[in-house]
Amino acid sequence: MHSIQVKDLTLNFGAVSVLKNLNLDVAEGEFIVLLGPSGCGKSTLLNCLAGLLDLSDGQIWIKGRNVTWAEPNERGIGMVFQSYALYPQMTVRGNLSFGLKNARMPQAEIDKRVARAAEILQIGPLLDRKPSALSGGQRQRVAIGRALVRDVDVFLFDEPLSNLDAKLRSELRVEIKRLHARLGNTMVYVTHDQIEALTLADRIAVMRGGIIQQLDAPQTIYNKPANLFVAGFIGSPSMNFLHGAVTDGGRAFAIAGTKVDLAAYDGGKPVDAPKAILGVRPEHIEIVTAPESGLTIPATVELDEPMGADSLVWLTTGGTQLSVRVPVERRLAPGTAVHLKLDVGKASLFDAATEQRV
């Protein structure tokens, strides 16, 4: 059964179209991450799901119920905001029980639910404090607790970790994953941080310009990006793009006067094209000293950046800049002429005109 179904959702702000005919099906208990640069419409989509924005067209179904025009509190959702949005004049307990009191729930039940949420999130000792007396991490826990007590089917997270420092962010990231494993709720999570997306998601929806570019499991998004935008957006440092041509009846990629054999390519059947782009991730390139016919391209080392666990080497080939991940022990002097062995089986070939993966 689908937990959330978005059908042909369109949203316009005046003349500006923010979301365009968007369709999204989320399975029961699935963790979906909406990922994209700022202004791509991901938070807007989340606000539409929550009922905080009225649609221009389309429908939203949650748990088999059409909630397109339902009030936020009638949709069976809980929401966690980037700025925590805790009511400053209420204690933590007051914050947690505010929604339940609005629903006229008996006090005994409220106490039970608050106690359970406090136990799950380990905020029991903080219940009688005001939000101003909490740290950022504690505040976000309370904000999650506020969604938790509502006992809802769907959790919506709007960049919940963006206001935290790096260390807390990774701690809470793990905690959210643990929470999902424990509760099994459907979760929709908006972020611009690809690490959060890759680590948390069952499926990632990469968005740009109000359109979902690709909706797939994190590994698929990473290894087989559907188009040039997704390929460039996911991965740090980002994928190397080699501009060349497909020749020899789709069997070779010509670049910088050499040809790379495409026989191992994992995807569609390449056809000859005067302009094509081969995308290779930094870890899928090997630096070798001797050329191998049909496998390597020549390059010159520009500089290397040791990053602790490994090292990043920047090179140029035919005017294009490339980065290659190598073991940190391997140092290469700038100016060294080397050859790059591309792992074509893990590369992505894009049509230069449509920017789609072949």
Partner: protein
Amino acid sequence: MADLTATAPVAAMEGARGAKPRRRLSGRNIMIYGTLFVVCLYYILPLWVMVMTSLKGMPEIRVGNIFAPPVEITFEPWVKAWAEACTGLNCDGLSRGFWNSVQILIPSVILSIAVASVNGYALVNWKFKGADVFFTILIFGSFIPYQVMLYPIVILLRELGIYGTLTGLVLVHTIFGMPILTLLFRNYFSSLPEELFKAARVDGAGFWGIYFRIMLPMSLPIFVVAVILQVTGIWNDFLFGVVFTKPDLYPMTVQLNNIVNSVQGVKEYNVNMAATLLTGLVPLTIYFISGKLFVRGIAAGAVKG
């Protein structure tokens, strides 16, 4: 041990602690404080004259030394100003005007602030179609001179059957307070984080639920500002009071004018001074009580956060 190690370096630096010493009687300081003193004197002098005159008897005033403290302190003028001074046919002093003013002030302040705060809240958080146009028109209202609207309002009140009543005047004060107060509240509410409002909606609170339980408790400073603006504004109002009410219902300011400007008999300067001070007492008290909150509220409205 810990103490010793901690104090040792400090002790070594003895004599170089504290702020950089400055000469108190530098030429610069004399200039600044001298100027400040003169300005203070300039501002305090009228008050001094008023208070002193109001405590003197008429014979002593006729001597003509307005700056001198009274030889014989008398509270007679205060009593007379409050309870016996005559305006027209009534000879019960300013007390009648005081109570009239109170009756005008309290409902006007409460009503105008209640309506304006809901206005501001709705304009920020419940954007309806045409909200911006509505707001522009409202603000435009504050640029139209009052005199232009006096006569139409007289007709309006007459048709409503409340011309010359306190209800009519309260209504006028409420309407005229609307533009500036709505602007004040709108700006304050838009400085509150939008996500709080969203969170409250997800929590199932409605229009009034969010207003009373979320917004109001966070808005004390701006309410203090609004109260001060309205109390001083309405208390000091003369024009509306004289135009829209009858002599029996004149507010204190109008009555003060009638007492001070009465042409019959001897000018009782001491009574006039006492009456003026009495009239100014209410705004003065408000400032003294809420000065600190006022500054905080003004700042809160101006800066985000």
